[in-house]
């Protein structure tokens, strides 16, 4: 094996390892919060089977005008919440907040009508054929277990009954 190929193999392994780092970091060091889920319309599947998740505390929290502007200009939205089970909404803003003790923030984006999406935790991949049952259970009875870093990054760890 030539040196160039060896370097290329090292880069490929490094790249695969690199994908693992951010989620493992958030998983290891992040604060766990439990979010109430919202029922959403099922959509066609692209990357394996997954369930679409919306979050109750992120519904209708932005004034209409700000929501439209944030959507048009792709401005990130920061939602602060408590670490209670389930989490409760505290505040929303366009600047990264400094959450107090017992609070965390998650970065999202405006959906345009006042609600905020959290794209990082909006999909939960499931084994083929099991998505429908989870879709039926979504809502107040299903909590999303989410690890949140200090920089407002979120990682969906799993779904649990309330």
């Amino acid at each position: 094996m030539s040196r160039r190929i060896l370097v290329a193999v090292c880069i490929q392994v490094f790249v695969m390892g690199l994908v693992l780092v951010p989620p493992l970091m958030v998983r290891a060091t992040g604060t766990v919060v439990y979010l109430e889920t919202e029922k959403m319309d099922p959509r066609a599947l692209f990357r394996g089977d997954y369930v679409i998740l919306g979050y109750t505390l992120a519904q209708n929290i932005l004034p209409q005008q700000q929501a439209s502007e944030a959507r048009r200009k792709f401005i990130p939205v920061f939602v602060t919440m408590t670490t209670d089970r389930p989490a409760r909404f505290v505040a929303v803003g366009f600047e990264r907040p400094q959450p107090k003790e017992g609070q965390v923030c998650i970065v999202g984006r405006s959906r345009g009508q006042g609600s905020v999406d959290f794209p990082q935790i909006a999909q939960f991949f499931v084994p083929e054929g099991t998505g429908h049952a989870i879709e039926q259970a979504r809502g107040a009875n299903l909590l999303a277990k989410v690890a949140v870093s200090d920089s407002c990054k979120a990682l969906l760890l799993g779904l649990e009954p309330r």
Binding site: V19, P23, P119, L155
Partner: protein
Amino acid sequence: MTDIKAREAIELWLEAGLLDPAKAGQLTAYLDAQPRSARGSGRMVKIVSVFGAVLIGLGLILFVASHWSGMGHSLRIGTLFLGYATVAIAAVAVGRRGYERVAHSLWFLATLTVGANIFLIGQIFNLSLTFWQGPFLWLLATLSMGYALSSRVHAWLAIPLALLALGWLGGGEVWFTDDQLASLFSDYGLRPLLPLLGLGLVGLALLVQRLPDWRFASGTWQIWGVLLIAVPLVLATADDDLLDLMFKMRFTTKQWAIIAACGALTGLTLWTGRFASTSNRLLAALAAVLLFGTLLLASAAPHDAAGIYPLFVILVFGLSLWLCWAGVTAARPALVNIGVGSAASVVIIQYFSWSMRLMDRSIAFILGGLVLILLSIWIEKQRRRLLARIAP
């Protein structure tokens, strides 16, 4: 070892003074004297083994997927890395036995495995649907292996990955699944920028010709670039509404950044790239300015698309003919083929567009058939004539 065509190697040796013109002529004549089947068999081995590699890759993914749900996270990640290691070891073993082409295909499979692994890791951790880091890291892995092997297949794969990463960068604004494609094909995504991205890519392809270690990618990227320019432009000649739809742009910050980067790349190429003559350089500059101007005009004033539509059709036809000429002067048959195909498509589209409006449908079909037959004979004749000028 650098994997380049024999003719390119002779050209390089000539430039470096390692060969004199007489010897170069003898070598070229010897190559031309070889039967086509002998020359083509190596390529056939490569194509068959690449297809084999892709099939094995798909089979492995399906096999892993069918046992996926029963595995824990650590076991899943371990399986992914083990899969990559198996393919890499197979590639090394096959290479050591002297089957270089098969080894190259296995390295390509290893690169595909990296991509599959990245997205499976994304699945394990429920990462975003517009997970742009995925295609970006896969692109880095592809380029590194492409560079190591001087592999055109890797160079080919790099372009859709780059487009995907660029399209997904910054996410999108549409709800969930729509995001994945909307970031690419909406008016705030890459769709209106495809011809400019193509122009930038052609520029990049001409620039990397100056770098011996990256020269392998130049031809592939040139063809990708030309296709990215030609396909949307020809499609947009179908109707003024389609012209409007295709190039309507929101001019987001990301789109401005892409326009600026493509402009800079094109400018740098016109300044420092290799051209056969000064007139070629000036014509290329004129084509680039016309392309930039028309696209920005169509994007900035979408409701006036009907006004610029006739000029747009003429421009696309003119650019197609220029591409044929550029292909001949650069001795690139692929460019001639794309140029002839684009020019013919514009003529056919315009014929059907006008004839359906101006005459009885049955007559339009009969005449259309005759036009297509005559046009295909003319195209084939012109194509052969142009390609004959390229052949040594």
